[in-house]
Each structure stands twice: as C-alpha cells, then as structure tokens.
Symmetry: C2
Subunit: 666 residues, 2 copies
C-alpha cells in the first residue's frame, strides 16, 4: 500500500510541474507577442518575425545543456527507458533524483522554447522516478536514509513501484486510470499479479482523483470532482458511428500506418546519424537550439504568408492572433501555432466545420510532421504523444473536409470525428501500442461507444506500420543496444537448444572460495552473476568443459558486500557477528555498491576464504542443455530472470545464459 502514498505524492508533484509550466508558457508567449488579443492596429510584423526566433532558442539551449551534461538518460520521452526498466534490464540512472529534476525542468524549457513536443512522456517518467524514490525511503543523492521500507529494497519490489508510478503518470496526464494500468502492463509487467495490478489500479485512481481535486480548486469549484486529466481533448458527446463508416476508418488506419512508418524511418536514419556524428555534447546543444530556431522560423513564415483568416468568436481559440487579418478576424495558422499543442489538438477535434481551410492544414501538417520528426531524439526532454496526435489530427481533419465535400449532407460526416481518428491512427502508426492506447483515447475523450472504431484504426495502423519497421520506442531501444526481450520467443527457434545459446566457458566460484580469487575475478570479469559449484572436484576440469556440480548463483554486488564486511572463514570466531550479516545489510547497500577497486582487501586477507553457501541463491533456475530456446525465453520472460545456468545430465555447470544472449536471436 506504499504505492498509494507514492501516487498521491506523485500526483501533487506533477500537478505542480504542470502549473509551473502553464505559468511559464503563457507569459512566454504573451511577452514575445504583444499583439495577443490586440485588435487596435496592424503590428509591425517584420520586426516581430525576427525577434522571437532569436530568443526562443535560449530556453531550449538551457534544457539541452542540462540534459546533455547532467543526465543524458533524461533525453526524449522516457517511455523507452521505463520500458527497459520494467522489462528487467538495468539502465543506469533511470530512477535517480537528478534525472527527475532534469526531466521536469527540461520539459518546461522545451515547451517554452516552442518545440514540437508534448509533456506526457516526461510526466510518466517523472511519476516512475517519484514512485521508485518513495519505495526506497532513501535517496543516495541527498544522502538521506529514512530507514523505512526496507523490504522494498529489491530490484523486484522497486520495479513494481515503478510500474505504479508510470500508471499514475498516465492517469494524471490523460485522466485515464484504466489506460494507465493497461499501459504499465503492456509496456512492462510480465507476470499478471493480482495484488500488484490492484495496487497499480488504486494508485492511478488516486492519481486521477488528486488531480481532479487540485484542478477543481484551480478552477474555483473546490470539491466538485468532474475534471479529467491534464490533457483534455474535450468530450465527444453525441458521437456515434454507423456500419458504413468502418471502411473509411480502415483506410485512415492504413494512411496512419504509412505516415507512422515514414516518421519512424526518418527518425531512425536521423538517430543513427546523431549517434555517429553528433555524440559531442556541445554539438547536441547546438542542434537543439537550431531546431528551436527553425521551428519558430517555420511558424512565423507560415503565418506571415498565410491569408487564412477566420471570424473571431465562433470557436474556442483562447489566444487569438490577428496578424494581418481584418478586425474581428484571426489568423487560423497563428492559432494553431501559438496555442499549446494540446489546445490545438482540441481545436482540431471540436471546432465547427469550416474553421480550417485545406491549404493551411496541408502546409501545417507537412512542416509540423518534419519538425516533430527532427525534434524527437534531440538531447532535450520531450514527449512524443502530443506532436503525433497534432500531426494526425491535421491530416484527419483534411480527410474530414474532403469527406464533407464527397458525401455532402450525410450526417455522419463531421470533421472533428475524422480529426480524432486521424490522430489515433497517426499515434498508433508511430508508437504501435494498441490496447492501452485504445483505452487511453476512450478515457481521454470520455466516449465509450467510439471504442471499436478507435481500436480498428489503431490495429490497422499497427499492422501496416509493422510491415515496414518497428515502433519508434522499440527502434530507440534497439539503437541504444539494450537487451530487451520481446513478448514472444523468436519465430523458428524451436530447434535452437540451450547448448547453442549459452556462453561458455563459465566463470564460476567454488562453495568455499579463496578471497584472492574472488577479488581477482571480479576485477578482471565484467559479469554480474556467477554460478557456485561444488569445490570437491579439481578446479582444472576446464578441458572437458564442465565446471563442477551446480549449487547456486551469487551476484557481484553480494560478493562485494561480503568483501566489504570481511565475512571470512578465518575471522569468523573473532567477529562472529557473521550470522548478523543478514538481509538488512544487503538491503542497506542497495542499489549502489562500490566498484571492486574501492573495496580494500589486504594481501593477507587475500589468503583467507569465504563460504559462499549461506549467501548464494541455492535454488536459482537451471536448465538442461537440451532445453529449447523458447522454453528458456519463457522462463526469462515469465519470471523476470537475469541469469540461467545451463547444466548437463550430471547437473554440472556447462554454460550460462543471460538476456544479452537471448536478445541476439530475433
């Protein structure tokens, strides 16, 4: 139930971030554009045109500097790293306080800088960090240990909290508690655990609730709890669909899948380019600033050359920009560029027919698509959902306008609905999630009947996209060469056996091992897990490839804790507190243990020996050398393992399999 706490905290935190952010964004816009809502006279557009594009890169440059120099792991949306973390892969620094701060400040700066970014990915990541922090009851960064929650100081437990935090993040961002749970499950969990799922659900409900409470106070109706998430696409109240529309949705799903695949293709190439040439930190900062300037320039150029003016008052644009429109009118492109992207999405969904012209939407889509593609992967904190939804809503609305023209008079043709479908299909085409996205969109639009069309669209988009490449998050995971395991064993792997997959020879320890050998091995080998074998056999059996009878597995950090506490057989009598070295000592050390070089072991101590049996894990999973790859894969996946020892028929260690070995097969 600690997760409850975590959620509450979490939520408040995020609300604060968002408020902070709102108050940053609006002043930023209105200060750089004194023409906001002003209809007195025509503004001097030419000077306006240059000024902001010069200033706008400042916040982005700061954000990029923070990310590049302080916490590179805070770049991007954070969903890929959370995905890896939940999958059981240790990505360094993912849930550190430093990352949290850089992420939160960074996303504010990116949004202020006018980049084509959203804030949900970072929010989800922040939720996860907070949850992880709370679960540990200590912060290594702040050197503070509350000495509580000892029992959560394990990889496994911490992971559960991170799931809950991510779910709470989704719940807060989209007002989608059920979607949050499904998101956590779809991205992370491998074992459906009743209690865990229930805690996650409760956590995300509380998150949605707290947000509701804060929003109700913010909107001056304290206690009236009917607000949904931060990113509110407005309720589609009277939406219904008929059978004949389904082919149209399938078509739109296909288009979304194609655009998504294109987006991923371009972004993939770009990321490879960045990895190869832009690995220097100052280059990354420069690129980010360049993109910020480019975005501003494109926006202004587009507004400058556009004569698409709409009558004021007929729609919910909050900060109407007049530019060179007549009095009482506003620039449509100005509106779409200078609202927050969320508000633009909402406008595209709900503006009455006729608010947008084909040309402005077309041009906007083209440039926004390219900018969003360029932006994702920059060394700034940036979400992917909203830009993708906005680009999708733009072409969806274009389709809607065309449909209006084609099927004139049919009452099911409503451009807003098409914008929604377009947004969904674009998002589906880029990220390729399905279940959780469907539910998130259902919850964010408050409309359950529209679930099936959304689902069809997302599925078609996924199918079409998968034909060309992987989802964008997966592409980024791949490029960072993290050994993430897929959901299913690789196809055609039934005839691959453990003996082919495993690494050998294996570095093992004997049940009673010399301290010197441990120190030496830990120094020379990078591995994190070592099988422990019976020591009654001569150590030099390596010729026939077996390494003694398998007894258990010991992890690097456990060995280091043992060395730190000098739990040697020879000193056992003197400090027979040996027995006292219990779970808590191991948990105190969690999660950061010193490297082996930092542990001081005197030459005399090197002659001592340690009995590893009380500390190793005696019942680790071991498989026979005849086990097939899919079987090993399922064990890893279902039980969240990191190492499996391969034994022969005599139960002697002949190999070891880790995630890295499995990830090689695709």
């Amino acid at each position: 139930m600690g997760s409850i706490l975590s959620a509450a905290e979490d939520e408040e935190q995020e609300v604060l971030i968002r408020k902070e952010l709102d108050s940053y964004v609006q002043p930023a816009i209105s200060s750089s554009f004194p023409c906001d809502n002003v209809s007195e006279e025509e503004n001097n557009l030419d000077s306006l045109f240059l000024a902001p594009s010069c200033f706008v890169f400042v916040p982005v440059a700061i954000g990029a500097t923070l990310v590049a120099y302080l916490a590179p792991v805070a770049a991007g949306s954070g969903i890929p790293v959370i995905k890896c973390y939940l999958n059981g892969v240790k990505v360094p620094e993912v849930v550190r306080v430093k990352t949290f701060i850089v992420k939160a400040v960074g996303v504010v700066l990116s949004v202020v800088g006018g980049l084509a970014v959203g804030k949900e990915g970072p929010m989800i990541h922040c939720g996860a960090v907070i949850a992880a922090g709370i679960s540990q009851g200590k912060s290594t960064t702040f050197r503070k240990d509350l000495k509580i929650f000892y029992r959560f100081r394990e990889d496994h437990e911490k992971r559960d909290f991170v799931s809950a935090g991510a779910a709470a993040g989704v719940a807060a961002a989209f007002g989608a508690p059920v979607g949050g749970v499904l998101f956590s499950l779809e991205e992370g969990a491998s074992f459906w655990n009743q209690t865990l799922t229930w805690s996650i659900f409760f956590c995300s409900m509380i998150s949605a609730f707290t947000l509701n409470l804060v929003l109700s106070a913010y909107h001056n109706h304290p206690g009236q709890l009917s607000y949904s998430g931060l990113i509110n696409f407005g309720k589609f109240d009277n939406i219904s669909y008929s059978f004949v529309e389904l082919p149209v949705y399938v078509l739109m799903g296909t288009i979304g899948g194609l655009f998504g695949a294109l987006f991923n293709y371009l972004n993939h190439k770009l990321t490879v380019f960045r990895l190869r040439y832009l690995y220097l930190k100052w280059l990354q900062v420069t690129e980010a600033s360049l993109v910020a300037m480019m975005t501003a320039t494109v926006g202004f150029t587009m507004i400058y050359f556009s004569w698409d003016c709409q009558v004021l008052g007929s729609d919910p644009v909050e900060y109407a920009l007049q530019f060179h429109c007549e009095d009482g009118k506003y620039s449509a492109l100005g509106a779409i560029w200078f609202q927050t992207p969320e508000a633009s999405v909402k406008s595209l969904f709900h503006d009455p027919p006729g608010s947008w012209t084909l040309t402005s939407l077309g041009i906007f889509f083209l440039f926004y698509f390219l900018l969003a593609c360029w932006t994702y992967g920059l060394s700034v904190s940036s979400g992917l959902f909203i830009p993708t939804l906005l680009a999708g809503a733009a072409w969806g609305r274009i389709m809607g306008i065309c449909a209006e023209w084609l099927f004139n008079g049919q009452d099911w043709v409503c451009p807003g609905k098409f914008a929604l479908i377009g947004a969904a299909s674009m998002l589906g085409g880029v990220v390729r999630m399905t279940i959780s996205l469907t539910v998130i969109l259902i919850e964010a639009t408050g409309n359950i009947t529209f679930g099936l069309p959304l689902m069809i669209v997302l599925m078609v988009a996924k199918w079409v996209g998968d034909y060309f490449n992987e989802g964008l998050y997966d592409i980024h995971v791949q490029l960072s060469s993290v050994p993430l395991l897929a959901w299913e064993p690789p196809p055609l792997s039934n005839n691959i056996y453990a003996s082919e997959v495993m690494s050998h020879p294996v570095t093992t320890f004997c049940t009673v091992e010399k301290v010197g050998r441990i120190v030496e091995t830990l120094t020379s080998e990078p591995h994190n897990g070592f099988p422990v074998v019976d020591s009654d056999e001569p150590a030099s059996l390596s010729t026939n490839r077996t390494f003694g009878r398998f007894r258990g597995l010991i992890l690097r950090w456990q060995l280091i804790v043992l060395l730190q506490h000098k739990v040697f057989n020879e000193t056992a009598e003197r400090q027979w507190a040996n027995k006292k070295l219990t779970l808590n000592d191991f948990r105190d050390a969690y999660p950061r243990y010193p490297p082996i070089q930092r542990v001081h072991i005197s030459p005399q101590e090197k002659e001592f020996s340690i009995d590893l049996r009380p500390f190793m894990n005696p019942s680790t999973y071991a498989v026979s050398h005849t086990a097939s790859l899919p079987r090993i894969f399922r064990l890893f996946r279902a039980l969240g393992l990191r190492h499996i020892v391969v034994v022969n028929d005599q139960h002697e260690v002949i190999g070891i399999v880790t995630r890295k070995d499995l990830a090689r097969y695709r």
Copy 2:
C-alpha cells in the same frame, strides 16, 4: 486470430439466446397475469394469487431436471468452473456442447420460472464453451471433425480461447469490452501475454460490436451503433461527486461488505447442507421447484398486502401492474417483482426521488436477499450478478432516501446514485472481485468520472468481507475440492521445502519400458504424469528413495495413444511408420482418450517394449529438493504447470509435486 471468429460466432449465439429469452419472459408474465396494463376493473386477486405459484414451478422443475440429470456442471453461474478451468485445473465436461445447451436452456427456464437469478454468469460460461468448441474445429458429441485448427488442440491453446470467450461474454452482457478483458485476466490468466491479451480485447470488442449491430436492427435503427450491452443500467449523465461524499461511500462499502459476508456465510452453510443431504438428483429437482413456488408466493403475498401505490406515467416502468391501486396508479412492489430483475435495477437507479417508500424497499430487500441466497447453488442454471445488484440497489436506495431526509436540500443527494453505490458494494461484498468489477460498472453506466467512488466502495466492501470469509465463487470452488492455486504463495511458507511438499515414492517409467509394466501401472495408478528415468540402473533402488536420473515427463494420455498405435520397438521394422506418429496423431486424440481398460493389448505384446524418449517431454521443469514452496508455487502459477519433478543433487527423481499437493497449503 481464430479467436476473432470465435467471438463473432459467440456473440451472435448469445444474442439469439437473449432474444429467445425475452420472448419467453414477456409472454410468460403476461399470460399468467391478464391484468397487465389493464386498468378497467379490479381483478380477482385471490384466484390470481394461487394459480401462478402452482404453475411457476414447472419451468424451474424442467430446468433443474436437465441440470441434475444431464449436466451437473451447468448448475450455478458457471464463473467458478471457468475460473478453475482458466487456472489450469481440468474440471470434466466444462466446455462440452451438452453443458452449453443445458446452460442456455436452463437459464431461460430459471428466468421464466421467476427465480431470483440473472443471466450473465451463464452467458459468460456459454461464451467460453463456444470459444472452446470453435477453437477445436470438432465436436466429439456430434462426431464431427472439421480437420481444421489442429494447432489449437492443446490444453494451453484451448485455455486461451476460453479466456477470450469469457471476455466476449462479459462484453456482450454488460457492454463492457475492457471490463471483459480485465475479467478474463483477473479470473484466469497468469501470464500476461501481449498477443493473447490483444486477441482477447479484439474478441470482446467484436462481441460488443456485433451485439450493437443486432440491437440496432432490433430497435429499428439498423447501423446506428450506439447501444451498449444487453444489461443496460442506463447512462448516469450528470453524475458528479464531491469530496464530502467519500466518507458516505466508505460507510456504504462497509455495509455492503457486511451484507456480502452474511450472504456468503448463509450460502456456505446451505451448500454444505446440500452436499450432505441433498445429493440425490430428485431431491435437487424438488428443492428447486420449492424455491420457485416460494419465490412466487413471497412476491404475491408482498404485493397483496402492500398499499404502496404510485402515480402512473411519471417513471419508466414498462409493464405497470395495477392490483388494488386506484386507476392511474400502479403498485410499486408489483413493479419491482414483475419486471425483469435488470429492469428493476434500472428503475431503482433512475426513478425520480419519491418513487419508492422506505417500507416497501425494506421488506423487499429482506425477502429478496434471503431468496437470492437460497437460490444460488440450486441445481439450476443461474447468475449471481443481477440478484446481488438488485438487493444492493434496494438498500442503497433506502440509504438514499435516508440521506435525502438527513441532508435535505444538498444537491449531491440523489437516491439513484446511492442505489448504484449500494448495488456495487453488495456485489463487491459477495464476489470480491475488484478491478474488473470497477471497470464493468464504469462501462455499464457509461460514466468514467464516477470510477473512483465505485472503486473505493468495491475495495472497502472487499476488505470488510474478507475479514469474515472468502468470496462466494471461491467458497464454491473450495467446496467442490478443486485444487485451485491462489495468486500468491501461502504466507509463512518460506521455510517449507520441496522435500516436504512432494509425494514419494514416485511411480516412474524407464526410458525403454516394458509394455506390460506400462499397462499394469496405468491400470493400478490414477496419476496423470510420470517421470521418465534412465534405465541403466537397477529398478529396485526404491529402498534409498531415488528412482534413477530424471530424463523427462510423459503424460497418461500420451502413453495411451502410444499403446493404441502399438508403437513397440519390436514391431518397429514391420510398420516402420513409427516416425509417422507425429503431433497430429496426438492432437486427433485430444481431448478425450479412452481409459486404459479399453485399449486392447495382447499378452504377447505385453512382452514388447516402448522407447519413450521420442515422445516424452524432455525439458520439463524439475526443481531441487531444496527449493522453497513459494518458488515452486510461482513456477506453477506463472507457467501453468501441472507436475513438477523433484530431483536431488545427482539429478535423480526423488519426488513429484502436483497442484493437489500445493493446494494443501493455504
């Protein structure tokens, strides 16, 4: 994607059932009550009073006979057996065609007979049967084999289909596709499998969609897809809640938990009584008929002595009954008793304040509660959701009326909302599901903002109820002594080791075994799984409790198929089609193989031997005797195992653990 098909079929089937049912119910009511909608003169109530109570038991008696004599497994709601099936336990006849027919016909008869039953449980069960049937592409009952879907003829695959069918059932019953998925997961799945979940989701969406399509045609708006499930509680459109209400909800959750615990306690006692004294089939039929008569009698007596008359026209009662009310009025209790229970729930949720008096609701609740409790567990096909919701809605409405009186004038006090909360808390108190119920109720009422209160109520009800006893489904599972594994290993079991849990001595086979010994063993031992061990050691090592080195596991039915096909070493040359005995032969036999007595083996053949190595499962999971109980438990749960072999350090078989052994620890 076969599941897609299954869902579609499934859905149509269920819609048909329901329509059939509707057309049964209405005539049944209107024929036994010629006073329907009649306001001419007062009816002769005294003769009316007796007539139906005598006739009403006929359908129930037929239904009970069908269930008792043809398919005892079709009794009750079906959810407990589906739960066992999905958990990996083989309950005989659960997914047979016979069961399906008895279940579907039986529920129609129970509803016609006026019992306090719902139809969702049976619908879910029917969905599961249809899914299972489709996945196999054959029916042993109809002796028809379409020779398709061979690859689904495995326990594991079939189970996936059953999950999807159950989800589709929920989707159709409540219009809750997401709830259906969560229901399947909460009740059954142990391993979150992306593809599987996605198929289940798609299946239940299609189910909801097909239902929508059929309903839209039925209501004469073909193609206008805005209908939700069959059981529609009406949209709560303008429901919102404020912070101050939460304590009230917690209180109501507590009350629901208490009522639920009472319900379960009474039903438990009753079920034990039934198991002990009413095991004869004719007694079961008599009891069911008695309950039917009792229900009718209670209903009529209540209406007869009630003077609670309400003005006609102000509310949505469809078949208003006048009885001894003045013209233009109708009997409130008549309305609640003689609508379908679903419609009564809807009335309690949505009737304007003042439609019900405290006394009539109180009396109704008391008797309905007892009747529902008596009814569940009868040998008839009967759902539990609706009766529980109705009882809960009744006391919820009572609370609502009290609250109106206490907090007069506060605009959050709306008795319908209280009825909803009461219904949820009662249901939660009885069945103790949480995640899926929350989502089902959210979807069935079409209101997302009300999710948190529902969740709080369900959770409090579960906590309170769990303090006293288990959920009703679990109680029934326990009483039928099925070895269902809980979600979590039993508490305090960390110090229990495999060597204590396992059964030994173990009946094993050698890698090359004599036919005679196989036949003998299969005849004398009831076990379904046998470890295969190295045969180079003398067979009489049983003194020191080890049984040779572990090689693999072979199942009873695989042995029987081998014997049927006479795959003997000695005949290998003659019919060297040995190699031809592949997967498909095993799959053809699935799921019903003859008992060993039916396989004819000549005395000469008994001297032959079989090489089991090509047929056994060589990489079954084996654990060391030092493995702890929680570890074994997790392996069973995560991988859906039925047998685990326990080996010693030399990898020799020393014991075997099955679900039955684990279920002993609680």
